[in-house]
Symmetry: C2
Subunit: 308 residues, 2 copies
């Protein structure tokens, strides 16, 4: 049995904590301990978010006087894959010394004509005042938008269309290696004129990439791990109540009805529905520490065809 796990950003860093290396490593150790029981009898493929980490590196790069211009987001994303992958591989090795783990730097194919490229929506990098934001936008060809009281750069968030390293992920997983891959949704690339691939400044949603990875790699289950025990129907309303089981069709109906916040739970719900509908497998959304219960269908929100 093969399981794909997506770790949310909070698996690495909690809001308000300094993004120190040792703090993130202690969170990763907790994540690895929660994942260790899943290794019994399963191939495990682990992907993860990178929002706070790539944001930190973007701020550092933007303020580095040695550089003529900051590193682009594909390159910064590759940096975070190496760093977070290293942390996870080390922590998984300590949580279960008998099992191998490895991190493959991974690219996600997106379509050059994805409509998202015409409408950038994903906030990335440092916050600026409006004047600075507009100046940088003019100088660097960025698009910027108001984010609360500050201004930030926005990049497109195209759909994942393929995983460039899929066959290698499967090869390693089939050998019992826990594969850490496609962090931050994977480094987005499009085909170029040379027959190769070109990185683009975009951010692919990590949960949607996880769903595509799980489907493409023939996984039996997809676990989307976060810091809430279950998806709440009617989030933010007095009638909010946890969803324990759902079919993808019913849950998509609630998604379209606006029952879930777009920025956080929406992509997880969409990812779970895609995987469950396409494969008939189990998709679970819930707390990191409940990972084993989720896989058993006992806790969290379980999405599966045949549920109500």
């Amino acid at each position: 049995m093969r399981v794909v796990v997506a770790l949310g950003g909070n698996a690495l860093l909690e809001r308000g904590e300094p993004p120190d290396s040792d703090i993130q490593e202690s969170h990763v150790a907790r994540a690895a301990a929660a994942l260790a029981p899943l290794l019994d009898g399963h191939d495990l493929i682990v992907t993860h978010g990178n929002g706070p980490q790539v944001g930190l590196l973007a701020v550092e790069s933007a303020s580095d006087p040695a550089l003529s211009h900051p590193y682009p987001f594909d390159v910064l994303g590759a940096q975070t894959q190496g760093m977070i992958g290293y942390w996870l591989v080390q922590a998984l090795g300590r949580a279960r010394p008998g099992r191998r783990a490895a991190c493959l730097v991974c690219r996600t194919l997106v379509k050059a004509d994805d409509p998202a490229f015409g409408e950038p929506t994903k906030f990335v990098g440092p916050v600026y005042d409006e004047t600075t934001a507009r100046r940088l936008a003019a100088a660097r060809g960025w698009q910027v938008r108001r984010d609360g009281t500050a201004w930030r750069r926005v990049v497109p968030s195209p759909e994942p269309a393929g995983l460039v390293e899929l066959d290698m992920i499967e090869l390693l997983a089939s050998q019992g290696v826990t594969v850490v891959c496609a962090g931050g949704g994977g480094i987005p690339v499009v085909p170029d004129d040379s027959g190769g691939l070109r990185g683009v400044e975009a951010v692919v949603d990590k949960d949607l990439t996880a769903a595509l990875l799980a489907e493409s790699a023939g996984a039996d289950a997809l676990l989307l791990l976060t810091d809430v025990p279950a998806v709440l129907d009617g989030y933010g309303t007095p009638a909010a109540r946890p969803i324990h089981q759902a079919s993808p069709a019913w849950l998509r109906g609630r998604l379209r009805a606006g029952a879930f916040p777009a920025g956080s739970m929406g992509p997880k719900v969409e990812a779970a529905c895609r995987f469950a509908a396409a494969t008939g497998g189990l998709a679970g959304i819930g707390r990191l520490d409940d990972a084993a219960g989720l896989l058993a269908g006992r806790t969290g929100t379980i999405v599966r065809t045949g549920e109500r």
Copy 2:
């Protein structure tokens, strides 16, 4: 036939250039073009230096006000593996669209009792004035030393004792994947009490790691690529002359006699001698653009048992 290639730092950045992403990517494109002819009939495993890159990230991390303390060198090294690995994989894909390439984040096992830990020699990270250097040393447990007119941190440079991901590197290479791995000499780790591995603040020489990798992976040849056409005997003296062929025994004698500068050519000569003596294979030291000629034994410095 299997070939291991080690790219020097100059394959990514030349002295005096700003360390911009696009400048490094253009160097990487040149490196990939030089390596492409080696792919005909060969498995290729590529490793690389990371000195300027990890130095840049160390400066950024040390001056980031969001952090309580800078990221340690193992973590920064992992970041550079992701970044440089991504650049190389992309460039190799463009240089030879039919061949797969992938980057595996790699750790190098070192011995906790390596004498290098008692005598740090490798300069890393930013330059400081003496007062700042001594203050940071006291605050962070660093060792610092004078480097020319400035002061810098020094870390140990232990011997590579094993490649943690060796079997996965071999598995991917055996499938025709060009494997980019062990950048910066690999992330140095030692066994910890849990049966896992613990990162250490050290830098393993990338050429010595490349020699161990080539020997362990059963390579037929090891190419150490740099920006000089051949090793000079008596470097810096009026009698300096290029060495075209040498046996490991003869070359080691010249190394012990001080014929090569310790900081740059010394480790390459030692790495070439180790590989050639242990395996009977060909070790070549020369220019990146001469990679194909080196492998054919036509250019550069060829080290092989049976040479004079």
